[in-house]
Amino acid sequence: MTFLYAAYAATWTIHIVYLFTLARRYSRLKKEVDELSKKI
């Protein structure tokens, strides 16, 4: 059972880490958009 739970946990950890990096990139881009709209 340990291996089963480890596999399921690893799967969701990988997906969540990727979603987290996506969210970070989104917030960084949002900052850039805000700065750009201020300039324009």
Partner: protein, 288 residues
């Protein structure tokens, strides 16, 4: 469209939870391996999703390369149609050459899917958008391939007694992952204007590894088990149902993640274009 994303997100979360319940509770326990066999419901759908994403990356990369010239675009369209017709006819003409367990109908379905997806991408995406689609599918594909490479050893250890073996299926999957990681590294760190073209060419060659991974268990003796669907193997119908539910859930999840990543890339390029325009205009405003 803005409303569709959260609604689809909620539906996908519900479907993933249902699929998890099916995999852990409803699916019957396999007699020889026991509960650890339930890794199958995450390992196999992740592999199929990764293959599909790499296949989409392949189609988008080809289109990015050929659509730069209208003549080669037309030629490519006819080549794809011809390949589709050949793929549909070949399994009936050369029936004896098919690997055991592969049905002619599954080859025909693959041919139709190939042509259908090619022209669907052609209709829905412009030349620049195919490049964004290629990048998106490669990135999400690598995430799913990573899941395959992590869950595989976690399943192998209690069943085979080893974490890893250098047999064809496992090694070719690792090579596939490395090819697409190098594709992403190239996209990330190269600032040349030719990067999308080089990356598309790399993706086309990288995609050649997908059929090798898929068919390796037919053509070589490997430690990896034979396919349970379309490969002469058999599977309990209740297990097959749970497997397909999990695949559907992962497909929906992959679609949403791709959608999100694609929007990010599109906005990023728009910002870069605006920044470049602004930089061009800045000296003039300074003179004024």
């Amino acid at each position: 469209m803005k409303r569709a994303f959260p609604i689809l997100g909620l539906l996908t979360a519900g479907l993933l939870s249902y699929a998890l319940y099916q995999a852990l509770v409803v699916a019957p326990t396999e007699q020889t391996m026991g509960d650890v066999q339930r890794i199958f419901y995450y390992h196999v759908p992740s592999a199929w999703t990764a293959f599909l994403l790499f296949f989409l990356n392949f189609l988008a990369s080809i289109q990015y390369l050929v659509r730069r010239d209208p003549k080669s675009d037309k030629v490519a369209n006819w080549v794809v149609i011809a390949l589709g017709v050949l793929t549909c006819a070949a399994p009936y003409v050369f029936r004896g050459l098919l690997p055991p367990g592969v049905y002619p109908s599954s080859v025909v379905t693959t041919g139709i899917a190939f042509v259908g997806l090619y022209f669907l991408i052609h209709k829905l995406f412009s030349e620049q958008q195919t490049d964004m689609l290629a990048l998106t599918t490669a990135e999400v594909g690598v995430v799913f391939c990573t899941v395959v490479l992590v869950t595989g050893p976690l399943w192998a250890r209690p069943v085979w007694g080893i974490w890893w073996t250098w047999d064809v299926r496992l090694t070719s999957t690792l090579v596939l992952w490395l090819i697409y990681v190098s594709y992403l590294v190239l996209r990330r760190f190269s600032s040349s204007g030719q990067t999308p073209v080089l990356a598309a060419a790399l993706a086309v060659f990288g995609a050649l590894d997908v059929p090798l991974v898929y068919f390796s268990i037919w053509f070589f003796r490997t430690q990896h088990p034979q396919p349970v669907i379309g490969g002469g193997g058999s599977i309990d119908p209740r297990m097959l149902r749970v497997l397909l539910i999990n695949w559907l859930a992962f497909l929906c999840f992959a679609f949403l993640v791709c959608w999100s990543r694609y929007r990010l890339e599109r906005t990023k390029r728009e910002v870069e274009e605006t920044q470049a325009l602004e930089a061009l205009l800045e000296p003039r405003s300074a003179v004024r």
